[in-house]
Symmetry: C2
Subunit: 438 residues, 2 copies
Amino acid sequence: MSFSAGPTHESLEATRDPRLKSWIDSANDRSSDFPIQNLPFGIFTDEVNPLPRAGVAVGDWILDLAVVHRAGLIECEPVFAQSTLNAFIALGRDAWRDVRVQVSALLAADSDTLKNNTALRARALIPRASATLHLPVDIPGYTDFYSSKEHATNVGSMFRDPKNALLPNWPEMPIGYNGRASSVIVSGTPVRRPSGQIKLPDAERPVFSACRKLDIELETGFIVGAGNALGEPIDCEDAESHIFGMVLLNDWSARDIQQWEYVPLGPFNAKGFATTISPWIVTLDALEPFRAVTPKQEPEPLPYLRHTGNHAFDIELEVHLRPALAELATKLTRTNFKLMYWSMAQQLAHHTVAGCNTRVGDLMGSGTISGPTPDSCGSLLEMTWNGQRPITLDEGGERRFIEDGDELTLTGWCQGEGYRVGFGECKGVILPARSAAE
Amino acid sequence: MSFSAGPTHESLEATRDPRLKSWIDSANDRSSDFPIQNLPFGIFTDEVNPLPRAGVAVGDWILDLAVVHRAGLIECEPVFAQSTLNAFIALGRDAWRDVRVQVSALLAADSDTLKNNTALRARALIPRASATLHLPVDIPGYTDFYSSKEHATNVGSMFRDPKNALLPNWPEMPIGYNGRASSVIVSGTPVRRPSGQIKLPDAERPVFSACRKLDIELETGFIVGAGNALGEPIDCEDAESHIFGMVLLNDWSARDIQQWEYVPLGPFNAKGFATTISPWIVTLDALEPFRAVTPKQEPEPLPYLRHTGNHAFDIELEVHLRPALAELATKLTRTNFKLMYWSMAQQLAHHTVAGCNTRVGDLMGSGTISGPTPDSCGSLLEMTWNGQRPITLDEGGERRFIEDGDELTLTGWCQGEGYRVGFGECKGVILPARSAAE
């Protein structure tokens, strides 16, 4: 089978029309993360059908792509009855866009095909509340960048020199490092507090201990949709066409383990125990209306890092902390992805410029996203200035770092006129450290 | 199907008997890397059959495991007619050992089954010279350690402080970092000289340039044979049972790119363009007779890094460089794996102690293996002291770093009485940098 060369610009634009409504009522709710303009992809199971398959979030529902494909309502290669989106993504951008346009048409208020087929509808639409979301992609490689100027400045001020907080290489390239792909987990998976070597300031030798400075890092991540061959770099101007979509990402960090281990080869055990991502991949096509001006880069980057046009995206981001047994969560931070100094396109161009290949499903983290004030910082390290200025919680108590039982939730959304394109939640609760006896 | 709980200690020991001979003459050659005592696993194709499948190297031949399994001569789950060894390895240690014992019996001088079946033998034994070797495993994660004290001391002396060459964390833990799994390639794959940002000492800003300080790193790597679940560390005393086997590894490094990029998050583009491994995985079972005394560790490691017994292995290692068009290669170095300060078991225990999970097929590099003298160093950086003391080549000319057309070959072997358990070659030739026009 082969399909069209992808939908027209007009049909893509139509999926993003702010006036578009769905016959699914909850998708028309102004506060829903998943209006018909969004249509993010994920992998889910439910009690009726424990086989993982691909779905699209819409309002309070999931559209089961395997069911609507089998019923002939979506034309595509048969890639939806699978436990990851990799095969779908590997079909290429024309196919993603084509499916998105078809799903939009199927769910639009003026479409009767699925709406009026009661039996099929019952099988094709699953309440989100009754579904379990899974890691949406098999991730062959995970890279984490360090692209927020405010974050890099804060960390540099704290641990190196406030007068020369930014290292000389920082303004020249999107600094990044290889993360550990095996421990990327989906939102909702509990996270065990890590143990490791910690060196206290006055001690002669390190001790083995549960982490005492457990932290979050508020990030977004993008999923590579089209890789590149070894030795063939991706051009910066063309790099966004290699991106399938974005997720929220919490790069859990053990600050005390990190401080002792990270010189000279970078963070290792301090990060490798868990990285949580949100389950729905929001496509770049859905994010298109929310492009924002790329921050001014001074000095002008080397030619391989230059691109024209707007490559920032206006994504509001928040972090909430809810202590064990608490009813209310405290908002820790509010910031925006558009503040990022280096764009995703520049990250991908830099990652591949020496010849490194990327693959479908690769995850690239933005790095901690911090704004200029404590209440717009993406880590407790920064918010509390390494524990020196504790945060007061709404229900009482305070936090310097994360305590056992705390539930941390990242949210993110683009605000449109009368609707919002949201990411859902990226959530994790902290379990106590493994005891030595276990 | 299910099979035995693995072979007995006696039958395993029998496969390692120095007196054992094969009916395949070339396997009895004292200088062959692949005597019947070795039996390493790999993935190959040949001109007759372009489908990748698993094989065992023996003398100048490859035993096609898919063929002998189909013929009923090897009892095992059907995992050999595949393009990687992952499914075979995932069967577990009892299965690896069981297959090894069966292959040994089939090839032993006193066995007629295959030897006398001319038709089957013609299909089951492929001349190594006519085969193409492939990456033997799909590598979900690649980690590189930094476990040679001599190497870490040399690098620390060169770039930091000769008086405090070893960082304080080095003697406390096997320092490691996440490498890039996508660009791990099999021996024989040409390597394109990388380009990237280079900052010359007196320049105000970096330039984009082809690497001028291209280097090797002589390493071994081990392949994880049994992973661990997230949050459940591997015990140091038990860690070797998680290792399937070892390969040679060349961690190609662009020193000038590395120096500018690596602070604070570690090497990235300087390493991510290529890592070459040898095609045959030598099992720990074959290496068993070559255990050597673990080097004394002072201070005594923290309890999670302690193990009893001998965990070093006596593996001779060499690197040769052959310039383009040259007939003769120059031996650059000769060293030994048994010098490594941190053992593979300690590396695996450290990697997982904070909760990180590992998976079947994960590759863990030893770090550059250097001895105490320039001609036992594992990198040109050290041999030439960052280019200050060029090496003279046997055919004339000299080298500070690698030039275009140079072919670098790593070899390694354990010397037994009258035989050697070898690794074959880990080889790569350097292609010129991509020109801007490409």
